[in-house]
């Protein structure tokens, strides 16, 4: 199963995300979820970044919050809305919004 998980909150400790299993687990950081792509707490990057096979972040939501999309964690691929649409149809089979 190729699963796309939209994370819209920062620092989620959602145990669902912890437990989800998929052959391909793509995490799409949107809204306040994009803070996970850039903020470190006490020098530690967000644990969310280690959960997925691939992690993406929405460029518009980064810019709105004052972050340069070229300076996100190196594990994160920045996409625009069109890119999210392509992910939905080409990379994921099922979607979850957390």
């Amino acid at each position: 199963m190729k699963l796309g998980v939209f994370v819209s909150e920062y620092g989620t400790t959602n145990d669902t995300l912890e437990r989800l299993k998929a052959d391909f687990l793509g995490i799409v950081l949107v809204q306040n979820g994009v803070y996970n792509a850039v903020v470190s707490e006490n020098g530690q990057t967000s644990p969310v970044l280690g959960k997925g096979t691939k992690v993406y972040a929405l460029s518009e939501d980064l810019l709105v919050r004052g972050f340069d999309p070229s300076k996100v964690d190196k594990r994160v691929t920045v996409v625009d809305y069109g890119g999210v649409v392509d992910l939905i149809f080409n990379n994921f089979e099922k979607l979850i919004w957390l």
């Binding site: 809204q31 649409v85 392509d86």
Partner: protein
Amino acid sequence: MSKLTIGCFSSLVGSMTLDFAVKLAEAARKKGHDVDMWLSGNGTMLAKKGQRSFKDYSSLEKTMTDLVAGGMTVVACEACAEARGYHKEDFIDSFGRKSMDWYLASCFGADRVLHIGGE
């Protein structure tokens, strides 16, 4: 082309989640995909016509009516709307009002479903 059904249960003002859903729908339409949008719970607020555009408040009525004119389908939960005092005459003309089974039927015919829960 493929079909995306978006269910959104989040409110129009006080949250930016409906804005996200609408921008995603717009991007999907630009790529030629079919899009159905189901508004339920507080999401039905988006179906209310006569939204005034103020600075710093989400204003989506024009975008939505343009999207519907371009072929997108938008339907709001009748019961959720009625409970909030949005009657048939209050609805944006091109929006539908149906019961929850419509959403499931839309999902039946969709290639992908993004269900966005409420606050």
